[in-house]
């Protein structure tokens, strides 16, 4: 019998064995009911003060050093309410809350520091656009406006603006800012000013309130510094001081309360169904239009520089003395605007839109400079440096209000329109209104501040709670126009009346002799450029009074 003879029967036996054993097992797998799960046991609730079973690296471990960072920032770094006991759930939850608020504090403070640095940008832009004989005086106005404004704001401005603004949850609540003076009119409550926070005393000696104060103060100071540019080269330093204090103590805080401090403008949505109420994310209206319109009021009262206009009303150019510092100042301002707009979220934790806001800001500044550059190049045949700088600033001013509410396409359009608008406005103010504005502050901040407010009502796309006309909500535009009307009818008139009073009492303008000499010596007692000899140039046509100083490079050897 060969192997093949018995192999075949073996194979058949194996097949039969598999069938006999496997079939029942397969059938059992198909038809057997799943066994019932073991009864689920609910873990007992964790007591909030029970010790958590976590620990960080040991002391010996940490003493060995941590080049990769895996042993730094662990359970050992969570603050214990009771240092003698182990970590609990309460400690962990408190630490999470503290971390969130700490992130937001740091973000808001650093953004505020950036905005403070914009004072340097404004100072050198304005000084560069003025004549050399007034450089010391112009720099000093921009330097001291920081101190004057800060003091006025600490005394009463902040309280009037934010005294009733409690509920800023992103910064821990700011609960001490708990009272807004309100009147009941036409069936609704109208918040007018706050009453908590004078001298930052009492309950407002609070860490959250301090963050809010610093951030709001630097915004207020931006509004004040705008005015110094429009009245430069003929404004008495003492009158500037009084005017700035009034603006920082009363006029600015009132409008800012109505927009940001819980006042009536912000409640137009709730009270009258006007969109989300007046929306001004970072202050095209509150800061820039307030500054620009006050600048207009002051320029009207103080009058133009000697030699600016001829008897027939035609105007003469009075170029600035240093374009280098003008454009450098514009860059400083553009950098500081990253604090101005993205910082207005007042936090980063829970406010990740800061990235979009920053990009919108950049884009609008960029297209603003394009708009101005193209306008000047096409109309006058040359790209103009100072107007290009003003175009950048106009774009930044215009995007300030809508930056939290628009997409990048909206930002590009808003900025470009601002660049064109600033050129048209400068010519209108200079040649039609015959209002002298050495630096273009009225057009950059006033005109484009108003454009920024209006653009919220047009371009807001709804992703951050505000929707404009182009996205289906016309009521937001109505709220914005009421804000524009308030800027023109309240802020301008208040600033006008206040500065008229100062003019009547102490006089706003220097004497003609001082103005022709240059304000550095009569007002400041020292030249900005003592080693340069300033000589009058008579390149302008006109009368003997039509004299302006040029700059002649000369060195006097010792």
């Amino acid at each position: 019998m060969t192997c093949c003879t018995w192999l075949k029967p073996c194979l058949w036996a194996a097949i039969v064995a598999l069938l006999v054993c496997g079939l029942p097992a397969w059938a059992q797998g198909q038809t057997a009911a799943p066994s019932a799960p073991a009864a689920a046991t609910t873990p007992p609730p964790l007591a909030v003060d029970a010790p958590l079973p976590v620990s960080g690296p040991s002391a010996d471990d940490q003493a060995a050093g941590d080049p990769s960072g895996t042993k730094t920032g662990t359970a050992n770094d969570v603050v214990h309410a009771d240092a003698t006991k182990p970590l609990t759930l309460v400690d962990l939850v408190n630490q999470a809350g503290q971390n969130r608020i700490a992130i937001n504090f740091v973000w808001t403070l650093v953004a505020g520091f950036l905005v403070m640095f914009m004072q340097a940008g404004f100072a050198i832009v304005e000084t560069g656009l003025c004549r050399a004989k007034n450089a010391n005086h112009t720099m000093m106005m921009n330097f001291m406006v920081y101190g004057f404004g800060l003091f006025a704001y600490w005394v009463c401005g902040f309280a009037l603006q934010m005294g009733g603004a409690a509920g800023v949850s992103i910064l821990g609540g700011a609960a001490p800012l708990s009272h807004e003076f309100t009147i009941h009119l036409l069936g609704h409550d109208w918040g007018l000013w706050g009453t908590k926070g004078f001298f930052l005393s009492g309950a407002t000696y609070d860490v959250g309130v301090m963050v809010l104060f610093l951030f709001q103060m630097v915004f207020m100071d931006t509004a004040l510094t705008i005015v110094t540019g429009a009245a430069a080269e003929r404004w008495k330093f003492a009158a500037f001081a009084v005017s700035s204090v009034l603006l920082g103590a009363v006029t600015y805080p009132l409008y800012a309360n109505w927009a940001w401090g819980g006042g009536w403008l912000s409640k137009l949505g709730a009270n009258y169904g006007l969109g989300a109420g007046y929306a001004d994310f970072a202050g095209s209206g509150v800061v820039h239009a307030v500054g620009g319109l006050t600048a207009l009021a002051l320029s009207m009262i103080i009058g133009p520089r000697i030699g600016k206009y001829n008897r027939d009303g035609s105007s003469n150019a009075m170029p600035g003395h240093d374009i280098v510092i003008v454009l450098t100042g514009c860059f400083i301002l553009a950098f500081g605007w990253f604090g101005f707009n993205p910082g207005s979220t007042l936090g980063a934790s829970g406010a990740l839109r800061i990235s979009t806001i920053a990009v919108d800001t950049m884009l609008a500044g960029c297209t603003g400079s394009f708009g101005a550059l193209l306008f000047m190049w096409i109309k006058y045949g040359k790209p103009d440096a100072s107007m290009s700088g003003n175009g950048l600033l106009a774009g930044l001013v215009a995007i300030t209000a809508p930056s939290g509410y628009v997409n990048t396409m909206g930002a590009v359009i808003i900025g470009f329109v601002a660049g064109l608008l600033v050129c048209v406005s400068v010519e209108f103010v200079d040649r039609v209104l015959r209002v002298d504005d050495p630096v273009g502050a009225i057009s950059v901040h006033g005109t484009n501040g108003l454009w920024g407010v209006i653009s919220v009502g047009l371009f807001a796309d709804g992703t951050n709670g505000v929707k404009g006309l182009f996205y289906g909500d016309p009521t937001q535009l109505v709220a914005q126009l009421i804000g524009v009307g308030t800027l023109l009818g309240f802020v301008f008139t208040t600033s006008y009346v206040a500065n008229l009073a100062i003019h009547a009492i102490v006089g706003q303008r220097v004497s003609a002799a001082d103005e022709l000499e240059g304000l550095d010596i009569p007002e400041m007692g020292a030249l900005c450029y003592p080693e340069f000899v300033l000589k009058p140039d008579t390149t302008h046509s006109g009368t003997a009074a039509n004299v302006s100083a040029g700059l002649q490079v000369a060195r006097e050897t010792a």
Binding site: K308, R311, P474, V484, G485, G489, F492, T493, Y496
Partner: protein
């Protein structure tokens, strides 16, 4: 003339604000806003500017 300009500017501001209580129509409110802003701008850019131009240094 300056006083008239100031009062007219304030009137232009208050017109749409008071109008909020008089009508709930968005269109009507929009018209009131535009009219009010036009009145204020006329007061500022015409009346007040002209009042100051009479005293301007280049006219002396």
């Amino acid at each position: 003339m300056k006083l008239v300009g100031v009062l007219l500017a304030v009137f232009g501001w208050l017109l749409p604000v008071v109008g909020l209580g008089m009508t709930s129509s968005t269109g009507a409110r929009l018209v009131l806003c535009i009219v009010g802003i036009a009145i204020t701008l006329t007061a500022i850019l015409k009346l007040l500017i002209n009042a100051h131009e009479k005293e301007a240094v280049w006219k002396q």
